[in-house]
Amino acid sequence: MSISRRKFLGWVGAAGLSTTIGKSATAATNKQFTGYPKSFAILHDTTLCVGCRSCEAACNKVNELPKPDKPFTDLSVLDTKRRTTTEAFTIVNKYDNPKDPKNPVFYKKQCNHCLEPACASVCFVRAFTKTKTGAVIYDSSVCVGCRYCMIACPFEIPTYEYDQVLTPRIRKCTMCYPRVIEGLLPGCVEACPMEALSFGKREDMIKIARERFRKHPDRYVDHIYGEHEMGGTSWLYISGTPFKELGMREDLGVTPAPQLTAGALSSVPMIVGLWPVLLAGIYAVSKRKEKIAQSEQKQALTSASDKEKPDESEIEEES
């Protein structure tokens, strides 16, 4: 009986170990998601952008956002570095151009609509969805307001309506999902007079970018930002100045955010499953040792008392 229990513990241990060794770290996600086929993307060519803020105005109009203090025609706004807010889903920032100091570089910032969004992977109520158009959209009706998405986003894009007491929402660019499914262009793209924003299939946008590199190799940094960053994004950028100088992170790597935590998450079931078994095993082993020791002690005692018994009888006999 006792031997079979030991064997049982051994089998469980072996089974647990084999699961840990055999599984790869990517087990928790799809291997490499390269985006929905024929999904859309927007290519932002910073060499063409003139910083007119037409995109900001269009975004404000399309999303029915409150009017800002300064009108969109006021270009003095560009002198300070801004970030996205609950009332501005996109902003244009101005950066120095070391190549041509008279013509500064403008970089439009908004949600990059990752192919494998970090915000969606951390959201435990599934308020974020990566749609087939490429847009990452948000459903406020299920949101519990944990703001994990804000922490998860490597681009620091989602914003939270702290001033709304009863119905606070996460706010960010929608890539004009409602317009795109109707066959319209996203607001900012339609408004851009310079066509610094191009809209189309993601493959085509990459083709356009490469064609521009080929035609004007001296004008561009030979890299499409967003092609592989964080596993790829639906907003792509090309630029004449290094992306780092435009305040864009170059340390993100090419691994999608969900995959970064896949290793840790895949070990969770193992810990949950195996840990009690191991602890129970250790407990059982020590218990068993105790039991054996006890029984041995008892046996020793009984054998000792057996030897002593004749003496007692002798004494009895004597008395």
Binding site: L17, A25, M194, K215, D251, L260, A264, V285
Partner: protein, 537 residues
């Protein structure tokens, strides 16, 4: 038996723990950015840093390289009325650039020369109660990251060359020389002068009698020594301190001669560049008449085009590869030598860099920076010669040559712009938020024509009266009546014409792009071209 089992289970637990640990390390593999060390010492930029790494020739260095500030020492000696010879020995009336020695020595001797002489002087000064440099090994041999070099390379441009030529009373042999292998001596060969770098390379090459010292040694040996000797004779001479040549600010103080007379080395005024090579192979393209004299004016040194020697291009380059296996001309055919993009020594590369000029970039920035496969522009260089009997120009050999020469191009084929350019064009295709834009077409055209006045290059290549039109009316035949913009530029992001911008994009890219490139700041805002449309109209 029971002991063995528990041991096995213990080992199992141990292995499981290790695997778990490895897993966790993998998870936390996202490394934090390491902090940059903050140096409190302010960074000092100097043009006179000499790093002592002579020992590297003997193998691995035992100590950190010592940094030596040359000008600091020169100045200190000057204050004490001492000259260069405190540290530098002379041989045959020439000052050695090496420290306290004339020739290369062994490792031990070298160490002794530096350590003894440096510390000897420093110790003497300290004994006299003066401030002096280190006397211990590690005070010299230590990292000093706060001292950084601001040295800029020095060039001997045409102006400086002319000033030396004048000062040396036209005696080229003071600097120029050749090497005679038989007598193992330097001699002056008239008419064979070239730039120093043809022989004196980046690093010293060869050994013994065949040794060719590096450009760095050669220039300091010639320049500094000569300046030193001149000063001794109380003649005004060039700098002796490092900063005099290698400091950016000091360089600006060097006097420039405005009109440098042409260098005399027997070079031709005009050349007909043959398209064949020395092995008799032909390229079939027409020969290229080349105005050598004019091109001399545009460049500061012959070396811009004549990379390795002052001989003809076909000496090193051939139709199918190199003739001489030179290090630099390797595998470069004649075709590449003349046409390579982005290289200052090739015709096209240099002309292309001229297109970056503010006056040209408006149109040229938009043009593809790769070679056009079928280009009528080829014929502007590879000219089809005029028929043999064209008036008096064909009578003599010299005149025959002149027939093809660029000086005559302006008279014979110079641009005359007679195109019927409309005065204004109203762009009303996109009226929405703004009123139609009025484009002062003729004003722009005339301005562009005027900008070419000063450039022989521009005039030559924009020979046809419709040539200028192609800047905006691209991808269309050069003709008086180009197609309308909207014929090709339609709605944006058309999958059938992926690389073609839409109408609004193309207008703005063309107009604003050109204004930006040419520095036209007047027309950069929206309302400087089209007025805002009033609501309800």
């Amino acid at each position: 038996m029971a002991k063995g089992k528990s041991l096995r289970i213990g080992a199992g637990i141990f292995v499981a723990m290790i695997i778990l640990l490895i897993g966790f390390i993998g998870v936390f593999n996202v490394t934090a950015l390491s902090k940059a060390p903050d140096d409190t010492q302010p960074i000092m930029f100097r043009p006179d840093i000499i790093t002592f790494d002579n020992m590297a020739a003997f193998g691995k260095l035992e100590k950190t390289k010592a940094i030596f500030l040359h000008d600091q020492h020169t100045d200190a000696l000057e204050k004490k009325n001492k000259d260069c010879f405190v540290c530098h020995k002379t041989e045959d009336g020439r000052m050695s650039q090496k420290f306290m020695r004339l020739k290369d020595v062994t490792r031990g001797e070298l160490t002794k020369i530096y350590c003894d002489n440096c510390t000897k002087c420093h110790k003497e000064m300290i004994a006299a109660g003066e401030k002096a440099g280190p006397v211990k090994c590690d005070e010299c041999h230590k990292e000093r990251p706060w001292i950084q070099s601001s040295r800029v390379p020095m060039g001997f441009d045409k102006s400086l060359h002319y000033r030396h030529y004048r000062a040396q009373e036209n005696k080229c042999d003071r600097c120029h020389h050749e090497y005679d292998k038989k007598s193992q001596k330097l001699f002056y060969a008239k008419g064979k002068e070239g730039t120093c770098r043809y022989c004196h390379k980046e690093k010293t090459e060869g050994d013994g009698a065949e040794k060719v010292i590096s450009m760095r040694f050669a220039s300091h040996l010639s320049c500094v020594d000569c300046h030193q000797q001149m000063r001794e004779k109380k003649v005004d001479a060039g700098p002796l301190r490092c900063a005099g040549c290698h400091d950016a600010k000091e360089q600006l103080k060097i006097e420039k001669v405005k009109h440098v007379p042409r260098l005399k080395r027997g070079q031709p005024d005009n050349v007909i560049i043959k398209t064949g090579d020395k092995k008799g192979r032909i390229a079939r393209m027409e020969r290229v008449p080349f105005d050598h004299k004019s091109h001399e004016e545009y460049n500061d040194t012959c070396r811009v085009c004549h990379l390795a020697s002052l001989e003809s291009c076909a000496t090193c380059h051939s139709l199918t590869g190199p003739i001489k296996a030179t290090k630099n001309g390797k595998e470069i055919t004649l075709e590449t030598a003349f046409h390579k993009h982005g290289h200052q020594s090739s015709c096209i590369g240099c002309h292309e860099s001229k297109q970056q000029d503010k006056n040209c970039a408006g149109c040229h920035a938009f043009m593809t920076k790769t070679r056009q496969q079928e280009s009528f522009a080829c014929l502007r260089c590879h000219m089809i010669p005029l028929p043999e009997r064209t008036g008096e120009l064909s009578t003599t050999k010299a005149a025959k040559m002149a027939r093809m020469m660029p000086q005559l191009w302006k008279e014979t084929f110079g641009p005359i712009y007679k195109v019927n350019v409309p005065k204004t064009v109203v762009l009303r295709d996109l009226v929405n938020q703004y009123e139609p834009a009025e484009y002062p077409h003729r004003k722009v055209f005339d301005a562009m024509v005027k900008k070419m006045d000063d450039s022989k290059l521009a005039q030559y290549f924009h020979y046809d009266d419709t040539m200028l039109c192609l800047g905006c009316h691209h991808n269309t035949p050069a003709a008086g009546k180009p197609p309308r913009c909207a014929n090709c530029h339609d709605k944006p992001f058309n999958e059938n014409n992926l690389f073609r911008p839409g109408l609004m994009g193309s207008f703005h890219q063309q107009c604003l792009g050109c204004h930006q490139k040419m520095g036209v700041e007047k027309y950069l805002g929206c309302t400087s071209c089209h007025k805002e449309r009033k609501k309800g109209s």
